[in-house]
Symmetry: C2
Subunit: 334 residues, 2 copies
């Protein structure tokens, strides 16, 4: 069923059908009704691909997230809210999971596939393994989230981790903590480097001595957090408070603590990052640094839309983290 068949049945030309479909106001109301009747009757729906081809616009965006997202609820929300924003603006979303761990070029592969699909823009939310794209030939507007340096001609929604870390450290210092540890993700990821740097700056601002030995570079996963916390606890003088590179790692850390009969918020202070819905349901409820997938997805989408529409006024966007106080912190324990 196509536009010509509708035209035949409604005894008009296919142009008229096209006009009716596109709500062109200059069509005779009687013809509109006649055409619409046929359309409704046969349940006709315009072919988006043909439309895109003729108009030269696909009304589709690409969204690349990292495959590690699998177990991490953060990304599922990013996808949800990005998609929702897109649909509101009449866009569709092509999602790709880039296997950035084992295939360094996978982001580029995904981007290339999307480009074949004529996406009008691509949002890259892999948080730290995106530099590889700098050299590959992508011809459509791209927006990154959380890249550590602005690539030429590419928009980047910067993540400002400092406010969150600063208030977190301030909070710990008020409790009297001086030995503050950190469960870092792999520092080969730029987002992990940024978090690490923000922590250092926050500690400097607060005037706390930064001890490199209290940093465990693990993996921003459940298991990674569990292992990292083991490492910290096995130190001759373990930290009295620990920040984590994300909530998932923090929950992993909680397991290790439990295994040793320790309680966050009582024996040790623990702080996560992301503010997953889960945080409200751990024992104790996890104090964290908010990094809202909802807001971030909205910001990235807006940035991409502006790029595509050419209405971009701002040259850089920023997402500010903030500290969320719950129950997993406490004063240092002797």
């Amino acid at each position: 069923m196509n536009i010509r068949e509708i035209a035949r049945r409604a005894r008009v030309s296919h142009s008229t059908v096209s006009r009716v479909i596109n709500q062109v106001q200059t069509v005779d109301p009687r013809l509109v009704r006649r055409v619409q009747a046929v359309i409704d009757q046969v349940g006709y729906r315009p072919n988006f691909q043909a439309r895109a081809l003729a108009r030269g616009r696909s009304h589709t965006f690409g969204l690349i997230v990292s495959e590690l997202s699998g177990g991490n609820p953060f990304f599922s929300e990013v996808i949800l809210y990005f998609e929702r924003a897109a649909v509101e603006q009449g866009y569709e979303v092509l999602v790709s999971f880039a296997d950035i761990e084992t295939r360094p070029d996978h982001v580029a592969v995904c981007a290339a596939r999307m480009q074949e699909r004529q996406v009008e823009g691509i949002a890259v939310m892999t948080f730290g393994m995106e530099e590889q794209l700098a050299d590959c030939q992508i011809q459509v507007p791209m927006v990154y989230a959380g890249a550590d340096h602005d690539l030429p001609g590419v928009r980047n929604v910067r993540i400002n981790y400092l406010p969150g870390f600063r208030d977190a450290i301030k909070h710990l210092v008020e409790f009297g903590h001086q030995r503050i540890g950190y469960l870092s993700g792999k520092l080969s990821w730029s987002s992990m480097r940024m978090r690490y740097e923000s922590l250092r700056r926050a500690m400097k601002i607060a005037g706390v001595h930064f001890d490199k030995n209290l940093v465990a570079e693990c993996d921003h996963t459940w298991d990674g957090g569990a292992q990292g916390m083991s490492v910290l606890l096995n130190l001759p003088k373990p930290p009295t408070a620990v920040l984590c590179c994300n909530d998932v790692a923090a929950v992993g850390a909680l397991k290790t603590l439990a295994g040793r009969g320790l309680h966050a918020g009582k024996d040790i202070a623990l702080i996560g990052l992301d503010d997953l819905p889960l945080c409200r349901f751990t024992q104790p409820a996890l104090t964290t640094i908010q990094f809202s997938p909802h807001e971030l997805a909205g910001l990235v989408f807006s940035a991409l839309l502006e790029q595509v529409q050419g209405t971009a006024q701002k040259t850089n966007y920023e997402y500010k983290t903030r500290f969320i106080l719950r129950e997993s912190t406490c004063a240092p324990r002797a």
Copy 2:
């Protein structure tokens, strides 16, 4: 940059370029090299939309999940594995989140949008609110996951909850439990009805008295689980063991227990459903009924592919749940 421009630069006809792109073997090797050189040089990529239009195949599938998935890691894995399977077969995936709570017709709206995009098939993984689609005019193959009855002309990957529930109940009965409670999701969802029915059957098989008063119909969310557990604990004679409609609700229940100074695996037996990665990291590690998003996504994708290719031999597919023993159960407490 299009096929004609490549042709001009390589001094051949666009047909030849098309043949080179499509690896037609009968082309003169010298021409192949010449064309390929130009393609590489200008970084040309074929326009998938035009291709789809000409071929009459979009190589795209639609995947509809429920919007509630936001906070629930289960769906993020479903999307990941479905997409991965699709890409392996040369398909792309259009994901939609259906807001089935507040917009009863949203699944149909999403499906319609996908149809305009010429998807070759649609997978509906909303687990229980899909009946509304029975009457809407979708012209492409569809596969459901976990619908409670087989709709005409529509494939359904049945979820067999019984094995998981049967072994779970058996396990509890061996511990000596007789007062077994259940935290159900809304029974207006067919998947929740199916779980409920499977539980009843499992208890019948085990010869345990089924007490309707020990069932709390809440919501399959973190908060829902927390509230439901409150209801059960407030009963004059609370259950000694509780099964939950999913892991997220179980984690919510854990919070309520903690708030009352009770411990799963010590004071009360608690069993979830889904086997999220998170289960290994709760305190105690959550015993659960496995419902693997990975396997399910693979099964649904295969079913859809078979439908589309017309190679479907099986008329029904089944996913079997299974019991996963961890540490959140114990003998009943006096």
